[in-house]
């Protein structure tokens, strides 16, 4: 048993307490019934899982998926040229990289709030547009799916740039020279050589962005308003306002199952983290 190994024992104990035991409890709760005053009680039931098939929740799942997918795609499209720029910027690579990482290191919450500040009806964006007479009434930029996607892209762009940069940096320049030698123009080289070779980085970035986006809570809460209820908000709700722990538990497991499936599908040999 790993407990005999002094290096692994503390981690093993902590993982058991903070990860495995809680998950076990969640599994148990998902099979129980909600208590009258919150909490759980018998009887055992699978109602919490059958309830997941209700179209009401189906809409929420699909919407969360859609938002996460769009956000991930945007991160990829926006992040790739940036990563390329940094990888090819020569001696100032580290500086440019830090400029991307710096905002990431500061508070995610604050960065989400920044968009609240910018997009509200009396915010900067609307003020400027009105001042330029492009619009007369303020646009409802906040409290919709678009704002959520924007907030997600803003928050997770560095997560995409970093693995892309790492892969691009390790790219052997002589491969690109070989392509040019064989007649490929810059765009062809990009599409036929660079992009395929970046596949591991793209996979890593996509996973690093999509999975958290799928389970996002803060962004949809602050930027989406009451109209945008995603899986994350739904789960949080069950454990607080609605006091329906068993259903919250089954939702959590559903979310985790989706994440696991995606990760499993995306994994390749030799790319393990742990």
């Amino acid at each position: 048993m790993k407990l005999r190994n002094p290096f692994l024992a503390p981690t093993a104990i902590l993982m058991a307490i903070t990860m495995l035991a809680p998950l076990a409890i969640i599994v148990v709760y998902s099979l129980l019934t909600r208590g009258a005053y919150g909490g759980v009680e018998l009887p055992w039931t699978i109602e919490n899982f059958t309830r997941l098939w209700d179209p009401v929740y189906g809409v929420i799942f699909v919407r969360s998926f859609w938002i996460a997918a769009v956000a991930t795609a945007l991160c990829l499209v926006l992040g790739f040229p940036l990563a390329m720029f940094i990888a090819r910027s020569g001696p100032r690579k580290n500086l440019y990289l830090s400029l991307v990482i710096l905002p990431f290191w500061t508070s995610f919450l604050i960065r989400t709030y920044a968009w609240m500040f910018l997009l509200r009806d009396t915010g900067i964006v609307n003020s400027i547009l009105q001042a330029l007479r492009i619009i007369r009434e303020p646009l409802p930029l906040l409290y919709n799916d678009g704002a959520v996607i924007l907030g997600l892209v803003y928050g997770f762009l560095p997560f995409m740039v970093l693995p892309l940069y790492a892969t691009l940096e390790r790219l052997d320049p002589s491969l690109l020279e070989a392509a040019a030698d064989l007649g490929a123009r810059p765009w062809d080289t990009l599409v036929r050589v660079t992009l395929p070779l970046c596949a591991p980085g793209i996979r890593a970035g996509a996973i690093l962005v999509f999975v958290p986006c799928l389970g996002t809570y803060l962004t949809s809460d602050l930027l989406g308003g009451s109209k945008t209820v995603l899986i994350g908000n739904l789960v949080q709700n069950q454990f607080t306002a609605s006091r329906d722990w068993p259903f919250g538990a089954s939702l959590s497991l559903a979310l985790m199952a989706i994440a696991m499936v995606l990760l499993f599908a995306a994994r390749r040999r030799g790319e393990e983290l742990l």
Binding site: P81, W105, I124
Partner: protein, 252 residues
């Protein structure tokens, strides 16, 4: 293409940094509207005298430092142990902790604590938050340190043993110095993740252990507030300085 990339990069960096800059600029605005009406430090004064803010900031700091210290030490040891001899279930649980959505981690920890509190006379508080933070920071530390370990040639430890060091002596005198930059990076990562966490903390904190993100969230929920701009600017600036300082230290 290089020219095009450079132009694009300017816009990309602007996208990343301008929102925060605007936030900062308007924290000095004399009025609470998004129209500039003069320079003022009144919001900063309000922040400096807000007891709630100060207390929660202190809480956040204490939690972050304790959790980071614990997670870094325990995580480094774990990375070393895993490098020497893998453990599928330990690697698996660490991986699980990385990919589990925060909301699920938080909710499940809350469920665990509530269940335990039926038997023990305890409540939610700083201790539960710290425990939660150590729990989710561990995986980050292990990933960073393990990545560095994978570039370490094991023959160096053999050489140390050959020259008379015990297994622990070899680890302490040869491997650990090699890992130092990664350990520092891991500690920074754990620190920022801990200071910034809202979702998990909000679920497992007690009534009297508010953290800074919780206060910020409550303020943001109520709508835009220049005092919040001031807080944000302070936090971003403070953390930014911390990062740059640690980067500079790391380079020496």
């Amino acid at each position: 293409m290089k020219r095009g990339l450079a132009i694009y990069a300017v816009f990309a960096y602007a996208f990343l940094h301008v929102p925060l800059l605007i936030l900062a600029v308007f924290s000095f605005n004399a009025s609470r509207f998004s129209v500039w009406q003069g320079f003022s430090l009144q919001w900063y004064r309000a922040v400096a005298t807000d007891e709630n803010l100060i207390e929660s900031s202190l809480n956040s700091l204490i939690i972050a430092i304790v959790a980071t210290a614990a997670a870094t030490i325990i995580g480094t040891l774990a990375a070393y142990g895993l490098w020497k001899r893998g453990s599928a279930w330990l690697s698996g649980s660490l991986y699980l902790s990385l990919v589990t959505p925060e909301i699920v981690t938080g909710a499940s920890l809350l469920a665990l604590f509530q269940w335990i509190f039926r038997f023990a006379h305890l409540r939610l508080g700083m201790h539960t938050v710290i425990l939660a933070h150590v729990g989710f920071s561990l995986a980050y530390v292990v990933v960073v340190v393990l990545a560095r370990l994978r570039t370490f040639d094991p023959v160096l430890e053999e050489a140390a043993l050959d020259l008379g060091a015990t297994e622990f002596g070899a680890f302490w005198r040869v491997t650990l110095p090699y890992l130092a930059p990664a350990i520092a990076a891991a500690a920074m990562l754990a620190l920022t993740v801990s200071i910034d966490d809202y979702v998990i903390t909000s679920l497992v904190a007690g009534v009297d252990s508010q953290t800074l993100p919780m206060v910020i969230y409550a303020m943001a929920r109520r709508g835009v507030n220049p005092a919040l701009n001031a807080v944000s600017t302070l936090v971003v600036f403070g953390l930014g300085m911390l990062i740059m300082l640690s980067e500079r230290l790391r380079r020496t």
